[in-house]
């Protein structure tokens, strides 16, 4: 039974990693083929770094992820405090609306915002599809995740300390910054990281809301998959895989370090 279970686990992990291994292997192929490996070369990596379209979309992806994560974290964190102190129906309405972008399929969120933008663009001539609409759409789907990671921290908070600060003459804004924020900082950081990675990884919402001027990396990858096979995608995927692996390792090492620290206390 033990052997069987082990074999099964290996099989599932092989299934999860085989395609990635294939991509990494063929990213070093000197030929433009995924049938035959004709020799080791870094040709596709060189071509990748000379591809201006890919580099520009990488830049847009990083910019929109950073900006949308910062703005969503600000709006979401402030709102969490307000929503936390609400009661009854008002609170339920806020939480329900907050859940709309989380539960809706991406494509529905994407087209609903696209319809809004097109409505403004065509009827009022207020804006064009581009970086602005892309950024707005990313902030919109990021905010709920920030709220969802900050709210649980607020629930575990002792409200009396915040009120005590005010009774002692500290104005609400200052007591919020000095008393509440330090205690929920972990939730804020989690929300920010989540927003950043969700934004970086998103394809569907960017695809419908970026127009032709502000394509993110996933949108560019999508248009590359429609053209004839190019090993440049393999090279790009390999680099992304290595980046993600390093990031996860660092985060995990930090976490286990923190756990050890907490265990000592």
């Amino acid at each position: 039974m033990k052997v069987l279970s082990k074999a099964y686990n290996i099989l599932i992990f092989a299934f999860l990693y085989a395609p990635i291994a294939v991509m990494i292997f063929f990213s070093f192929n000197s030929a433009k083929s995924f049938r035959r490996f004709e020799g080791f070369s870094l040709r596709w990596y060189t071509e990748l770094f000379q591809d201006q379209v890919i580099l520009k979309s990488l830049y847009i992806s990083l910019a929109v992820a950073a900006l949308s994560a910062v703005i969503a974290t600000l709006i979401g964190t402030l709102a969490s405090v307000g929503i936390h102190s609400m009661r009854g129906a008002k609170k339920r309405v806020y939480l329900a609306v907050n859940n709309i972008p989380v539960t809706n399929p991406d494509i529905v969120t994407a087209i609903s915002m696209m319809v809004l933008f097109v409505f403004f663009v065509t009827r009022l001539n207020m804006m064009e599809m581009g970086f602005g609409t892309l950024l707005i759409s990313h902030i919109t789907f990021n905010i709920p995740y920030v709220v969802l990671s900050v709210m649980p921290k607020l629930r575990g908070l002792n409200d009396n300390i915040y009120e005590a600060a005010q009774d002692l003459g500290c104005p609400p804004a200052k007591s919020f910054l000095k008393v509440v924020v330090p205690q929920i900082s972990q939730g804020i950081v989690t929300g920010f990281i989540m927003a950043f990675t969700l934004s970086l990884d998103d394809f569907v919402i960017s695809y419908f809301n970026s127009g032709s001027t502000a394509q993110t990396l996933p949108v560019t990858i999508y248009s590359m998959t429609k053209r004839p096979y190019s090993p440049k995608i393999n090279a790009l995927s390999t680099l992304l895989f290595v980046a993600v692996m390093i990031l996860l390792l660092v985060v995990n090492l930090r976490k286990s370090g923190e756990n050890k620290k907490e265990a000592k206390h």
Binding site: V22, L78, P105, I107, T225
Partner: protein, 280 residues
């Protein structure tokens, strides 16, 4: 709460309220508006009745998503169980291994399968190496390839929540059942399965929702032959000028949204029933 404080809280919530109203509530209202009007903006039920024409696509989408979800569940449960019973340190490593592919963009994960499944891809090359006359499997463009793409992409979403609930089941609970004479199958059916219902439900939701609404997996691995509801919606919004029709696209999206909302409500209800039953 003093007056100054309640004013402060209203002020800091205001940006959120305005933002969510304009970019979440109004867009949904606009989708409903488009779904119920014609191209000139007059009220019309034509888009809603037109959905009947896409009944077959809805059926195929739901079928493929259900099949993928079921396969994910069957594949994920034993692995999640095995990980949950490992030593704490090893659990962390294994879960990281499950999550690692998830952090790759799903376009790349799907694209990788084209190299493996293509007519001149790895699998066919392998068989042709053994037998040069081998005609080759036709895999890209079949429904099987689409299901494979869904299972591959969404399997971690099933493993993680099931693993989480299984770690909360104490080993002693299982031992108690065994001491009371339950065999392996009974322990699974009467103890493990009922206790893992919340994890199964969130796993099923996290797999089914993206699977039923995808248009990328069907485009890449279905090669345009397997048309899903996501493909139709995409085509109505971003297709050629001749095919763009926001009104029908909006009504299809509305149906998709309602369908998912209703099935989630049903499942949550089921979840509550189960956990209440478990308490007795």
């Amino acid at each position: 709460m003093n007056r100054k404080d309640s004013l402060f809280k209203r002020v800091i919530t205001a940006p959120y309220t305005v933002w969510m109203a304009i970019f979440v509530v109004v867009p949904i209202a606009l989708v409903v508006y488009y779904a119920l009007t014609d191209a000139d903006g007059h009220f019309s039920a034509a888009n809603i009745t037109a959905i009947v024409d896409y009944g077959r696509t809805f059926r195929i989408s739901i079928e493929l998503a259900l099949v993928s979800t079921a396969i994910c569940l069957v594949m994920a449960y034993p692995l999640a169980y095995a990980i949950a019973r490992m030593k704490a340190r090893r659990q962390g490593t294994m879960i990281m291994l499950v999550m690692l592919p998830m952090w790759m963009n799903f376009l790349i994960r799907t694209y990788a399968w084209i190299a493996i499944l293509a007519d001149k891809g790895l699998i066919n090359s392998f068989f042709q190496l053994l037998n040069p006359d081998f005609p080759g499997f036709k895999m890209i463009g079949t429904r099987g390839a689409v299901v494979l793409g869904m299972v591959y992409n969404f399997l971690p979403y099933m493993i993680l929540p099931i693993y989480t609930v299984l770690t909360k089941i104490e080993q002693s609970t299982i031992e108690a059942a065994q001491d009371l004479g339950a065999n392996r199958a009974q322990v699974f059916r009467r103890v493990l399965l009922p206790m893992s219902v919340p994890g199964i439900i969130s796993g099923v939701t996290m797999v089914f929702v993206p699977a039923v609404s995808t248009f990328v997996i069907s485009k890449l691995l279905g090669a345009g032959k397997t048309y899903l509801i996501g493909d139709i919606i995409e085509n109505f919004f971003l297709g050629n000028t001749g095919t763009v029709n926001y009104n029908i696209g909006a009504s299809l999206s509305l149906v998709l949204m309602l369908m998912i909302l209703i099935s989630m409500a049903v499942m949550n209800h089921f979840d509550k029933d189960e956990s209440a039953g478990g308490m007795l």
